[in-house]
Amino acid sequence: MVEANKYVIEMHDIVKTFPGVRALNHVDFRLKEGEIRSIVGKNGAGKSTLMNILTGIYQPDQGDILVKGQLIKPMTTEKARELGIAYVHQHSQLVPALSIAENIFLGDLLTEKTGFVNWKKVRTEAEAQLSELGLNVDVQRKVEDLSIAEKQLLEIAKALFANAHTIVLDEATAPLPKEDVQMLFDFVKRMSAQGVAFIYISHYLVEVFELCKAVTVLRDGKKVGDYYVCDLDQPELIHLISGEKVEKFHREHHKLNGKKVLEFRNVTKSGHYENIDFALNKGEIVGITGLEGSGKAKLVRGLFGLEPSAESGEVVVDGSIFNAKDPEKAINEGVAYLPRDRHGLGIVGARPVSENITLSILKRLANKLGFLNLSKEQKHVEDYIDKLGIVTPSTNQRVQFLSGGNQQKVVFAKLASTEPKILLLNEPTQGVDVQAKVEIMKIVDQLSHQGVGVIIISEEIRELVNVCDRIIVIYNGEIVKEFNTKDRNTTPEKVLMAIEGETKKK
């Protein structure tokens, strides 16, 4: 049994200053053996800095770190590893092209005296070690074929083989599919019962409530406190995180004039989605939700021309048949798309805010010879910075230096600049903090008031229920249910049930 009250990690009075910012201000943190603790806070609250100090990546300006009661000074990444502290990142440190077994023995392959690798032994050893942890998997599967949750399991397993007793699970930038979360959490709980402590960093408070007993709240580099999750509800925790009462955004439904701006007519792409048939009205916000891989994202990516379009059926935009082969054409036809991966498709980090905002409308700012009207551009950019409340020191600031929420607003400014008729949003509030989420939803609301038809692809059901007029649930590529949010019977729980395929089974 786990010995109670034995601290594996004690961090005392940690101070860390980066030029211009006090990232951590006299922070204390203690973790008991076998405990699952969450650290929460807004972007920039100091969560990652604290963990980077714990694992020796950064050196604190002040403060002590004790591991199992022993003062460690200085902490280095090597020492952290030796002492059994592991850092599992969202971005996998595994080698994708190699198998699970090869990844487990990476750098220490079991070789014969002749110097050749004994592959059979590698496989059986890997299988044996994993099954000891209760994981029965085909160790010959390639890591690139694993889901995110499976990769995380593997990384935790690797850390455990290296005798880790404290594992930091860094912030999931994407919500995992429900069953994967369950699998991951079950495993974490089982390991914790055996005495392994976990530090879980996440924006997804629902998961925090589900997994952890206690939570440490950081705000602006200071510790707000440690709390048992049973003493809190979600709004209270949000309040602690932001320090101010977060105004809860609830959208007023405005009257729609019933003019269709987008129609899917029996759109099918076999293997991805089938017989998709629905209409989007002017000024309407429709949420499309479903499990990861249900086809919801493929549908909008196909519409925007980022993927080969549907095989049969037709899409009608504003009364005429629409078939965009590439984004350029889609944008010209009045369709704008907010990608799920802001860093991959949304922003050009190395270029200034101004160039990012006008990237899709350069044609409009240029004369016939392609010369840009720079003063017109500057005015446009200032307009949108003002309208969307983008916080940036200047229009020349490189976007990579803005916070996540402001980067997302820059992407919104770019989309809104094209004056779209239809706005496709793929997980618009992913990886931004609570405050920014509300602001972003307000922007979406404003656009809908101007008559833009909006489709939100999301797995954050509460948010969809708050913001959308209707919610469409896709399961296995087919529309299985539609909810009207004006209907009081539409609750997040019911939507969730539909997402998991309840209607399908009946």
Binding site: R81, F304, V348, L359
Partner: protein, 337 residues
């Protein structure tokens, strides 16, 4: 945070203090350094280098590069001369006797075609840009040997040599052309839709695509530009030296890349300006001239050229380091814990 921005701004503009310090040092080392004669020589050296650096910068800003530029330069000059000159010693031409004007147009076309092939292979067949342009570098150099049979062509007509050889008043035409090319490139990059697209494509091709830009089309276009400018450089170099030798421009690609990178054009793509690249071209030309004036042995000049490339790449690597957001940096800095 603030600090990092200052460091990046410094690294981006490092070329100018470097250039000034270098000039001051050479001026102390040799009293002949800042004479009209020597400055003119520096600029003439900068002319061909500059034109090729502009082409290279276009490709680099889109996140590519064109290693074949030096071979394009050589083979275009060779083909131009071959189309004009009679066969047999000492000309070794092709007995085509094309008028000079047509021959020049033809040689520029050859450069454009070489660029088109590069762009086609990279974007349509999705081949790696390093391998494609490296192969093209070797193929074009080989073709040059096939056509010339390793012989040196001489006796180029004056009209063919004019661009690289003649003066307009006191100023060499080649220098004027180089400056004009830089000004046009600068205007394109800073004030046109095309230039903005190039920065976006190099900064993040996926984001550019999602913003309605066709990254592959832009990449094909910059290779056309690079091929054209390599041919223009070839014409100028042929005019300056008056002969076509089989190793013409050989090894120049390193100088070209070093000039662009030290001038702030990043190998990462999406970063750097033509003004900076111009500074890079001046710096390399100044160093080349200064070392010769100081009678440094050509062996040591080799060593210095290598060091300059190392310094350029080092600056670029630091830029990459400081551009990364801290969390991203952590992810790469720790391997397995």
């Amino acid at each position: 945070m603030k600090n990092r921005k200052v460091i990046i701004a410094l690294l981006d503009n490092l070329i100018w203090p470097l250039l000034i310090v270098t000039i001051i040092i050479f001026n102390f080392a040799s009293d002949k350094f800042l004479t009209t004669f020597n400055v003119t020589n520096i600029l003439i050296h900068a002319a061909v280098l500059g034109i090729l650096t502009v082409g290279q910068s276009f490709t680099m800003i889109t996140g590519n590069f064109d290693l074949s530029a030096e071979s394009s330069l050589a083979i275009t000059a060779l083909i131009g001369a071959w189309l004009i000159l009679p066969s047999g010693a000492p000309n070794f031409g092709g007995d085509v006797f094309l008028p000079v004007g047509l021959a020049i147009i033809a040689l520029l076309m050859v450069g454009v075609i070489a660029g088109w092939i590069n762009g086609f292979l990279i974007t349509k067949l999705k081949m790696n840009n390093f391998i494609v342009t490296l192969a093209m570098l070797i193929v074009l150099r080989g073709l040059m040997l096939v056509i010339s049979e390793g012989k040196t062509m001489t006796g180029l007509p004056d009209s063919f040599k004019a661009l690289g050889h003649d003066n307009l008043g006191n100023i060499p035409i080649s220098v004027l052309v180089m400056v004009i090319v830089f000004i046009i490139a600068h205007i394109i990059m800073q004030y046109t839709q095309f230039g903005r697209n190039l920065y976006a494509v190099g900064g993040d091709p996926d984001a550019a695509l999602a913003a309605g830009i066709d990254p592959e089309k832009r990449i094909r276009q910059v290779y056309l530009i690079s091929g054209f400018l390599a041919a223009l450089g070839g014409l100028m170099l042929a005019g300056r030296t008056g002969v076509i030798v089989e190793n013409m421009g050989s090894g120049m690609i390193f100088e070209i890349q070093a000039a662009a990178v030290i001038g702030g054009i990043s190998l990462l793509g999406g970063r750097g300006t033509m003004v900076g690249a111009f500074g890079g071209v001046l710096l390399l030309s100044v160093i080349d001239s200064g070392l010769s004036l100081m009678r440094v042995s050509s062996f040591w000049i080799e060593v210095f050229s290598g060091l300059i490339i190392l310094v350029a790449m080092m600056i670029d690597a630091q830029k990459v380091r400081y551009s990364k957001i801290p969390s991203a940096k952590n992810e790469t800095s720790i391997k397995e814990i």
